[in-house]
């Protein structure tokens, strides 16, 4: 079997639909991971009783186990137990977002700890209210420095989205699978799917590296 350009071109419309879904998953999943990760990090930093320990165990547990199983647990176990039924897509966004929030929370932690101690002491000396210290002094210094790391996790997430095929999300890989089932030719769709990931993630990682040089890293 050799490469067939005609088949590759015929596969494009269906793949394009899948690409759109992959991009949506990545964007929405990342937004959730950025927000939830910050929430986790703040709970840990502020040592909120009980929640602090709960978040710690949750973060370590999630980071040490496969995302695929977490997707299954959320889809087949948690949702029926809670009496809800989310679509495969929404399930995917939440699973990706929560999984990566455990990584981004560590990024925020490093960013917050990298703010010099003198900033805290100065804020205290000026008796600035605690809330204002966070929103006006600490986070504005911490967040720019964590942007490259957050970008890297978005790229990682992007490359992990195809595993959502397991619960039936029609992403680019699932579209490729469909093309393969229709045409009995797998070379073109799967290769194009791989090329798509490379075409997005390689330039993206160069951009992140450039950002890293501008704002530094944690």
């Amino acid at each position: 079997m050799d490469w067939d350009w005609q088949n590759a071109i015929n596969a494009l419309p269906l793949l394009a639909e899948g690409i759109l879904v992959t991009v949506e998953l990545t964007v929405l999943g990342s937004l959730l991971a950025y927000v939830l990760g910050l929430v986790f990090a703040l709970i840990r930093q502020l040592r909120v009783p009980v929640l602090n320990q709960a978040v710690y165990l949750f973060v370590e547990g999630v980071r040490s186990t496969p995302l695929l199983i977490q997707v299954f647990v959320f889809f087949y176990l948690l949702q029926p137990a809670l009496g809800i039924r989310l679509s495969a897509f929404v399930t995917g966004v939440i699973a990706l977002g929560v999984h990566y929030a455990t990584y981004t929370s560590e990024v925020y932690r490093a960013g917050i700890e990298a703010v010099p101690k003198g900033q805290w002491e100065a804020a205290r000396a000026l008796s600035i209210p605690r809330m204002r210290v966070w929103t006006g002094i600490i986070l504005p210094q911490a967040v720019p420095r964590v942007l490259p790391a957050l970008g890297n996790y978005t790229i990682s997430m992007f490359k992990e989205t195809p595993l959502l095929l397991a619960i039936g999300v029609v992403d680019v890989l699932n579209s490729a699978k469909e093309v393969g089932a229709e045409t009995f030719r797998v070379i073109e769709p799967y290769t194009l799917a791989g090329v798509f990931f490379l075409l997005v993630s390689y330039p993206a990682s160069i951009l992140v590296r450039r950002l890293e040089r501008r704002v530094g890293t944690v």
């Binding site: 079997m1 186990t65 199983i69 560590e106 990682s156 195809p162 890989l173 799967y190």
Partner: protein, 237 residues
Amino acid sequence: MFDNLGQIVSSILEGLPVTVAATVGGVALTIVLAFTAGLAMLSKSRTIRFISRVYVEGFRGTSEVVQLFWIYFVLPALVGLQIIPLFAGILVLGFNHGAYGAEIVRGAVQSVPRAQYEGAIALNLGPADRMRRVILPQAVVEMLPPFNNLFIQLLKSTALLYFISAGEMTERGELLRPALPMSQLTVIYGVELLFYLLLAILITVVMRALERAGARRLGRRPPARRKVFASSAAGGA
């Protein structure tokens, strides 16, 4: 409620040897490729640097799941050779994580102070001896913590072998799932998650022991005891 609990657990644990084999095989291939490509990226030859760069960016840039589909479904169509699932899995795990590992090796070798090279040259050590006896022993100790994260990442990736029916733990669980009531799904996933967690801790314990042994051989103070969970962020692009 848990009347056939023993059966469920033993059925999932039949997948444990496959998960372990995929992890060990993947880690072995990762180490070989990471050192080969990592040192090749520091080569004087532009061609060798280019080839290793293409390997690293190619495998880091295309998704691991896509690579798995490619090697398992496309390669047989291309060359007419069906690879057994576990072997295909080990290849993908090794090649993918080897690409990430190459950056670790390159970074660690570059972080060895310049004076060490100069000292080795002053002692009239050839390039091979310089690398083997002076640079690498110091670089390897630096590599161990990031490799710890990488290996845990690899362990977690073995779950993807579910897609090619290699018979590892995740797949065993999913085969049981349709026939079982909700209450017993808790057992399936509980057992799976527990074993991945235990394997991850085992990797960390082994790597920490290596780290201490390595530091001792260099005459450095061994690293302080830390929590068993790998602490710094894993993954990355």
